[in-house]
């Protein structure tokens, strides 16, 4: 299993299908696709084998029917035959019409329940099971392609960038839902991460204000694991945020003013990176150069 992944996020099912076609054309391996609803044609596009659950269901039905026949035969014919309204109590076949309803119900009972249990086990669904979708929006309106990186990061990125993507993230560790960053989603505009380098990007605080805006935060990351975020002091409507450019679109109220403020933060970020690379400031204090100078 690859250690590094690219998560390409789309906000539309047709864009997702186009992107997958594009990736397939370039022979890029797709590990997993997370979608909020069943996207028609996705399984064919991903070359998923047809599920055999219907075959299993047929077998369960046969088991249920056999169970019904054997049980009724044992109870009504073998163990304790009784004269009920003069019905032929010593022959299953002759008394069959009265037994058909229960045999049918047992067939349905076994098929339905065993098939659903099989589905739950095969898809690993049960109470207390942790959800594994990498970002929570994939159950809402986002579609995520998980692509493993085997030294072809830049190629994958360049392909993704030709598609109409919503967000692109590089995940350094096997996909796990980190508890501490759960309420923040990462929109890095730079993805290199080594111990000597500092990565600074924008994130949104997950809590929204009542008017729909949320705090734009600046996230500082060094290598793996060391990370903190500070409020930039800007309140932004997330729906107008363009993550590719790290700025707001023209629909945002006072977008010129906001973009000006963001670009001044970007300048400070670039300068603080230089200061950090020169060793003049510690990772923990890096934010002071960006935020307190404002």
């Amino acid at each position: 299993m690859a250690e590094k992944f690219i998560h390409a996020v789309y906000d539309d099912d047709d864009k997702l299908l186009d992107a997958i076609k594009n990736l397939k054309k370039n022979k890029i391996m797709i590990e997993e696709v997370f979608t909020p609803f069943p996207v028609h044609g996705l399984d064919h596009l991903l070359d998923l084998k047809p599920t055999r659950i219907a075959i299993a269901a047929f077998i369960y039905g046969c088991i249920g029917f056999t169970f019904g026949v054997l049980m009724i035969n044992y109870i009504m014919i073998v163990d304790w035959p009784q004269n009920i309204g003069g019905k032929p109590s010593f022959s299953l076949l002759e008394n069959l019409p009265a037994f058909v309803p229960v045999m049918f119900e047992l067939t349905v009972f076994f098929t339905g329940h065993l098939m659903v249990i099989t589905f739950y086990l095969r898809s690993r669904l049960w109470p207390f099971k942790e959800a594994e979708n990498p970002i929570p929006e994939t159950t809402d309106d986002k579609f995520l392609i998980q692509i493993p990186i085997y030294g072809n990061e830049s190629k994958i990125k360049s392909i993704i960038k030709t598609t109409d993507f919503y967000d692109l993230t590089v995940i350094d560790e096997p996909v796990k839902k980190p508890d501490n960053t759960q309420d923040e989603e990462i929109h890095n505009f730079e993805e290199t991460k080594t111990d000597s380098e500092i990565t600074i990007g924008f994130v949104f605080h997950a809590r929204k204000y009542s008017d729909g805006s949320s705090n734009l935060r600046i996230q500082f990351t060094r290598g793996r694991g060391q990370q903190y975020a500070k409020n930039s002091g800007l309140r932004i409507y997330r729906k107008h945020w363009i993550s590719k450019k790290s700025e707001v679109s023209e629909k945002h109220p006072e977008y010129e003013k906001v973009n000006k403020a963001i670009s001044s933060i970007k300048e400070k970020i670039n300068s603080v990176k230089q200061i950090f690379a020169d060793g003049k400031i510690s990772f923990e204090d890096a934010y002071k150069e960006v935020i307190e100078n404002q």
Partner: protein, 462 residues
């Protein structure tokens, strides 16, 4: 866009310019918001009725079935009437989600979740009556095939009452897993939106860790399809078997071969009426008018009209066959129904079930929300009377005129019935506040083909 084509003649099923995200927001709103005053008032009334019902059940069990209005001639009355009535109501949910799925009817998606919820809650009410009527409900486990405590006697597989046990329990449990499997992606959506930690925990628990992988969806769709294929004969079998309770007996008025299709049509009829009653209120209270549109109401009204007409045909066929059979007991049973001491119940049934749905031939009436609501209540009352007429009028004139009698319910009969209505609404009201009441994942799949904004966009392009 090409793959999302739908004939322009079809009316949009999702209105109000929705996006995928907007659907999530709309479905989550009743769960994330807090209950208003009306909800608490209705919940309080339902809970009071439920408590009253529990009181009457306790009184019945501790004192005996003698607290009911039954007598030696009419040994079955409100209990079995209520049982059949509730089972019948419980037929629309699976019909909507299974039969309409097989027929690829997209309009089922706005209403199937609530219809299935209603199914499960009403089958629970139905199940209560036979258990209470046992008199000693702590021995209810004797209906499952285990050897008798006093020897090796078993349950009787020739008996329609035992078929009922298997049919109702299969129906209840299969409907439940069908419902829950469909709920997983929607619970997951609520889970991933949840801000409060407790809410997040609960919805994580009930969503079984649903993540929405491509393979999961492939299996999900296959399982839904196979379950629909199973549930379709199941739903037909359940009410068929319920009708066997009567049809296999030798009582004039019950011993009729027409019973299975007649009961199934009646069940669909009453079930759709109850769905209509509940959803007309819910779409207003939960602001879901964009998902449960007038188009949905109209289509349900058409189903009500058709099944109501089938039921009407069955009533008339019964009368004809009774006359044509030449059996005077049969003839008397039906003459007595229409003109005997219970004539008012018979004509209430006829008016509510046969005449009232005929108004739905008029487009203006079947697209009127107030009128649909009124008719849905009328139909539910009529279907209760249908079962009462079948059961009580066939029994109260016994073979021996010396046994002829009338049935009048006691306050306990009435109390238990009202109690189950209360219990049903308690469950449904709790459901409406905690469950995603629209199958949002499914609705999202039809947004691009049946959403009004996408339809307009396609029309403009041409």
């Amino acid at each position: 866009m090409g793959s999302h084509y739908e004939a322009p003649i079809r009316k949009p099923l999702v209105t109000g310019n929705k996006t995928y995200h907007q659907i999530s927001v709309d479905v989550a709103r009743p769960i994330e918001g807090s209950a208003n005053k009306q909800w608490w008032i209705v919940f309080g009334i339902s809970l009071t009725l439920f408590m009253w019902g529990i009181g009457c059940i306790i009184y019945t069990i501790s004192t005996g079935i003698g607290t009911w209005g039954l007598n030696k001639t009419v040994g079955w009355a409100w209990d079995i009437t209520n049982f059949v009535w509730w089972v019948g109501i419980g037929h629309a949910g699976t019909l909507i989600s299974a039969v309409l799925l097989l027929f690829r009817q997209k309009w089922r998606m706005g209403i199937n979740r609530s219809a299935e919820a209603m199914t499960i809650f009403s089958v629970i009410q139905a199940g209560l009556f036979p258990i209470i009527h046992m008199g000693r409900p702590w021995l209810a486990y004797w209906i499952v095939p285990i050897p008798n405590t006093f020897g090796s006697l078993w349950v009787n597989f020739n008996s329609p009452l035992l078929w009922d046990v298997f049919a109702i329990s299969t129906y209840l449990t299969v409907s439940l897993v069908f419902w829950w499997t469909g709920l997983l992606p929607d619970f997951a959506m609520i889970r991933d939106r949840a801000v409060k930690p407790f809410q997040k925990k609960i919805y994580s628990l009930v969503s079984f860790g649903w993540s929405g992988r491509a393979k999961d969806w492939q299996r999900f769709e296959e399982v839904s399809l196979v379950l629909a294929g199973l549930a379709t004969p199941l739903v037909l079998s359940v009410h068929t078997i319920v009708s066997f309770d009567f049809a296999t007996s030798v009582i004039p008025g019950w011993h009729t071969t027409i019973f299975p299709p007649y009961f199934v049509a009646g069940a669909i009829f009453s079930g759709f009426a109850m769905v209509q009653t509940l959803l007309i209120v819910m779409r207003k209270v939960c602001n879901l008018e964009d998902y449960i549109t007038v188009q949905h109401i109209e289509l349900m009204n058409i189903v009500i009209m058709i099944t109501g007409s089938i039921v009407g045909c069955a009533y008339i066929t019964e009368l004809f066959i009774a006359w044509y059979s030449g059996v005077e007991y049969e003839q008397y049973a039906f003459l007595n129904r229409a003109t005997g001491p219970y004539w008012w119940a018979y004509w209430a049934m006829m008016t509510c079930n046969v005449f009232s749905p005929q108004f739905m031939w008029f487009k203006k009436l079947r697209t009127s929300i107030v009128f649909s609501f009124v008719i849905s209540i009328v139909v539910n009352i009529g279907m209760w009377f249908e079962r009462f007429v079948i059961i009580v009028t066939s029994l109260h004139r016994d073979y021996l005129p010396s046994s002829w009698t009338m049935f009048s319910p006691t306050f306990v009969d009435i109390g238990i019935f009202l109690g189950t209505i209360g219990f049903f609404f308690v469950l449904f009201l709790l459901y409406a506040r905690t469950f995603p009441v629209i199958a949002q994942a499914e609705v999202k799949t039809i947004l691009k083909s049946s959403g009004d904004n996408y339809k307009e966009l396609r029309d403009k392009k041409k």
